[in-house]
């Protein structure tokens, strides 16, 4: 018994997820929500990688997903700490207000 869902459907669902992530980055002003949208985009790519790795019987795709998860975790840790520092200085995480490099 193997996956009965054709791979085209996985391609389309990850395309839709990626576009929702792009929409989130463009749509909101809260920097945390923008981070979450970036996570959504990374996850759509992960889903596509796993789908193709199953399709081609190759475990390398799943190892790549593993590395993407590691990089995403590190990125979230550093990004959120930067956001906390910004919030401590400016008292806002609104990206339209963060336009000057000095304070």
């Amino acid at each position: 018994m193997f996956s009965v869902v054709p791979i085209q459907y996985y391609i389309f669902i990850s395309t839709v997820l990626f576009c929702i992530g792009v929409l989130g980055v463009l749509f909101r002003r809260n920097a945390i929500i923008i981070f979450m949208s970036v996570e959504l985009m990374l996850n759509s790519v992960n889903l596509l990688l796993v789908a193709f790795s199953t399709y081609h019987n190759d475990a390398s795709g799943q190892v790549f997903v593993f590395f993407v998860m590691a990089v995403a975790a590190a990125e979230v840790a550093v990004g959120l700490s930067i956001l906390v520092t910004i919030f401590r200085n400016v008292h806002s995480v609104d990206i339209d207000e963060l336009k000057n490099l000095k304070h």
Binding site: F2, S3, V5, Q8, Y10, I11, F12, I13, T15, C19, I20, V22, L23, G24, L26, F27, R28, N30, I32, I33, F35, M36, S37, E39, L40, N43, N46, L47, V50, A51, S53, T54, Y55, H56, N57, D58, A59, S60, Q62, V63, V65, F66, F67, M69, A70, V71, A73, A74, V76, A77, V78, L80, S81, L83, V84, T85, F87, V93, D94, D96
Partner: protein, 155 residues
């Protein structure tokens, strides 16, 4: 819903639901180990980090101002066009041949560990260096200035 809900905490909850759905897809694709790791890392660690940061900042929907309507319409149009182009291109692509005979043991821990530690040993070690530097960076960025004499913003 992650994008559209006004309260950021609701966005986080919706995003957790989305991650569980993706983990279900991994299970359907016979990648059991990745499904478990996905739930642990994303729903367990990253989302808790997001939630605690949100509550630390104490933001709610009244404080957040939204973009002007023109920018919103522009964002929707841009994302919709990207979706349209990608779907059109992918529909035009040649139909993929039927999958070769599938090996169910690809997603198991045994098989993944073999591949990870044989072929990808160097990137594996390198990711540990990445984690170390990320940890040091996060601690360094969020720690408060200890002595008031240090100039502000200079690390």
């Amino acid at each position: 819903m992650t994008v559209l809900s006004k309260n950021p905490v609701h966005s986080v909850i919706y995003l957790i639901g989305c991650f569980f759905a993706i983990a279900g897809h991994y299970l359907l694709l016979n990648a059991e180990f990745l499904a478990v790791v996905h739930i642990i890392v994303y729903a367990g660690a990253i989302m808790v980090l997001f939630l605690s940061t949100l509550m630390l900042m104490n933001l709610n929907d009244e404080t957040e101002q939204h973009k002007p309507a023109l920018a919103k319409i522009g964002a929707v149009i841009a994302a919709g066009l990207l979706l349209l182009v990608l779907v059109a291109v992918l529909k035009k692509a040649d139909a993929l041949p039927a999958p070769v005979n599938q090996d169910l043991s690809i997603g198991t821990i045994k098989n993944l560990g073999k591949v990870l530690l044989d072929e990808y040993l160097f990137p594996f070690e390198f990711s540990s260096v990445l984690f170390l530097s990320a940890m040091i960076g996060a601690v360094l960025l969020t720690k408060k200035e200890i002595s008031p004499q240090t100039p502000k913003g200079g690390f």
